[in-house]
């Protein structure tokens, strides 16, 4: 009899515990998603509804009119393309530089190794805001202002430290005896890197890809400082300067909201596609077999 009670009791406690846990999850999810949901709702409202008091969360009618306008009548296409170009170019450049660097840090022993790794770590901690103004002056002198190439170079520079550390971690998980076996089989360092290490570090490369894409897509301060011409602006800046019409005083908030949602989508899609690799990377499944 006593045993049944304690069993039932513990089951109830477990259920209460679970309920509490889910409640906490719900609160966290609401906090995280509420701003995005609010923007989504805003994007579907009429101009007249925006400043309603008391504020209404849901729009009176669900309309995609703002989205259609934004997509067809504005330069958002250009801005999306700029973002994609800047992101992909910087991601490719960063990984092309970081992967061999991480391989060297992982596989080679040299005296400067520890100091260099620590230096990378320190560089990573420097926020873009700190370097923004001096950067402007240097770029002015170099003639790199207002160019995509200049912006891509900075993107690559700020993303290298984290990418090198990330990839080094994944390379470290691959046993050095594989390199040695490849060496005995006759592989040069480059062949060993290309044929053995890189395929085995796929989750790491995917993680680096994701990080670089999201970092590149969300860059704000650097393009804000360095780019002036409207046709060069990525969407993170473009959304700010958004002006859907010539008329003064027009309430543009719903259009701004729609543009924001559109700006988010590519990164979201990228994330969903590579999600499988993210989970693998986070759970440490770095080496098969």
């Amino acid at each position: 009899m006593t045993r049944d009670d304690s069993e039932i009791g513990s089951a109830t406690i477990r259920r209460l515990g679970n309920a509490g846990l889910y409640a906490a999850y719900a609160v966290a999810v609401v906090f995280a998603l509420f701003p995005i949901a609010a923007v989504l709702m805003l994007s579907m409202k009429q101009a007249s509804e925006v400043f309603n008091w008391p504020p209404s969360f849901f729009p009176e009618t669900l309309s995609l009119q703002t989205y259609i306008y934004v997509l067809t009548e504005t330069t958002i296409g250009r801005m999306l393309w700029n973002s994609i170009f800047l992101t992909l170019a910087s991601t490719a450049g960063c990984i092309l530089i970081s992967a061999p660097a991480a391989y060297a840090f992982s596989r080679m022993r040299f005296r400067a190794q520890k100091p260099l790794l620590l230096t990378l770590l320190v560089y990573q901690m420097i926020s873009s805001m700190v370097i923004a103004l001096p950067l402007y002056r240097y770029y002015e002198a170099l003639g790199l202002l207002d160019s995509h190439m200049g912006v891509i170079l900075i993107y690559i520079t700020v993303e290298i430290p984290f990418t090198v550390w990330l990839l080094k971690g994944f390379f470290d998980a691959i046993p050095p005896s594989l390199d040695e076996a490849a060496r005995i089989d006759g592989a040069s360092r480059i062949q060993s890197f290309r044929i053995i290490i890189l395929p085995l570090a796929k989750p790491g490369l995917a993680a680096a890809l994701i990080f670089n894409v999201i970092a590149g897509w969300s860059q704000f301060i650097i393009p804000f400082i360095l780019l002036q011409r409207a046709e060069l602006l990525p969407i993170s800046i473009g959304v700010l300067n958004f002006a859907p019409g010539q008329t003064e005083g027009e309430i543009t908030i719903p259009y701004l909201a729609a543009a924001s949602i559109i700006a988010m989508l590519p990164a979201l899609v990228m994330f969903v596609i590579l999600q499988r690799f993210i989970v693998q990377a986070l759970t440490g499944g770095a080496v098969k077999g």
Binding site: L178, A181, D185, G186, G289
Partner: protein
């Protein structure tokens, strides 16, 4: 197939000298095993022969040519690693054929070599599998297959059986030995397991702290160990060692017990010695000395008995069943021709010293 010469090879890591100097000659087709405790330098020496570690001093010669400065792939060697080091993302066939693929051989030649090696090792059905789908023993065979495909002058094994369970280890030992008999390739094999050394080697090299303690055929090391270290390392359970001195009637232990002794040289008297006798060299005899049984461990085919005379503990191994129990009295006698005497200070075996 080739002879390997290690001429006064030394290794330093920065300020630390790990191997002061090793000289060793390995005949063509010989199966040599480097054995010793962890950290004795055997793996380092193997890796220097392979070309995975630089050589600080001395020369390594393979087939008569000095290979010190050559890359591993140019030394005509193949290596089998402790953790197999198979490429996880390639099939068994691709693993085995990798060296030929890098050398630019035709697909037909690669397939032919891989099939031949796979046939020797019983891997023909596994060629399309990935290493992750294989058992430990199968993986080790694939690693050996990869080495065979290279058709090298020397096989190098770095503790290949250490990751396998005991039963599999025994089976693989025989397979490796059979492989060597078939291929007759010069083989240098590193292990910390003295049983592997005793059962597989043509020549055993016992190493400690970067130096060769003794090198020779297994039975020579068993019957005539050069010093206390080799005597205790080879043979399991270890040799019994009792300190004392030679008196008029025999060997007098420090505790005052008399142990029987055969003929010995005069140089053995008058100094502190260690009396060495292997557990398997005791016989139950009515005219032997009395000891008390402390522990009996029957293994089915043998009986391990821990016997005590006063404060001295002697491990005995009898090939017959014994009906002894703890506390019983035991009469044992050592085989006099199997008693070893070691100088206590230097550890050197003095039995063969001239009178």
């Amino acid at each position: 197939m080739a002879q390997v010469s290690i001429a006064n090879v030394s290794k330093t890591f920065g300020a630390a000298t790990v191997i002061p100097g090793v000289t060793l000659d390995i005949a063509d087709g010989e199966f040599v095993i480097l054995v010793g405790p962890s950290g004795c330098g055997k793996s380092t020496l193997l890796r220097m022969i392979a070309g995975l570690e630089t050589i600080s001093g001395g020369d390594v010669l393979i087939g008569g040519r000095v290979v010190n400065r050559l890359q591993p792939k140019d030394r005509d060697i193949a290596m089998v690693f402790q953790n197999y080091a198979l490429y996880p993302h390639m099939t068994v066939a691709e693993n085995m054929g990798f060296s030929l693929r890098l050398a630019g051989e035709s697909k037909a030649r690669i397939a032919e070599s891989v099939t031949r090696a796979a046939g020797i090792l019983g891997l023909l059905e596994l060629l399309d599998r990935h290493p992750g789908q294989l058992s430990g023993g199968q993986r080790q065979r694939v690693a050996m297959g990869r080495a065979i495909v290279r058709n090298p002058q020397v096989f190098l094994f770095d503790e290949p059986l250490s990751n396998l369970d005991a039963k599999l280890r025994v089976q693989m030992r025989t397979e490796i030995k059979e492989l060597h008999q078939k291929l007759k390739t010069t083989t240098i094999y590193v292990t910390h397991d003295q049983i592997e050394a005793m059962t597989m080697a043509d020549k055993i090299v016992v190493m400690r702290a970067g130096q060769v303690e003794q090198a020779g055929p297994p039975l020579e090391l068993y019957d005539r160990p050069a010093n206390v270290f080799v005597a205790s390392f080879i043979g399991s359970p270890s040799m019994n060692l009792v300190p004392g001195q030679i008196g008029d009637a025999g060997f007098m232990t420090d505790a005052g017990h008399l142990l029987p002794l055969g003929p010995h040289s005069a140089t053995a008297t008058g100094r502190r010695l260690l009396y060495g006798i292997r557990p398997e060299h005791f016989v139950l005899a009515d005219d032997g000395f009395v000891a008390e049984v402390a522990v009996v461990e029957p293994t089915g085919s043998e009986s391990y008995v821990l016997a005590r005379i006063g404060s001295i503990e002697l491990t005995c191994v009898f090939r017959e069943r014994v009906t002894l129990r703890a506390g019983d009295a035991l009469r044992i006698r050592p085989r006099l021709d199997s008693v070893h005497l070691f100088d206590e200070a230097s550890g050197r075996r003095i039995n063969d010293d001239a009178v």
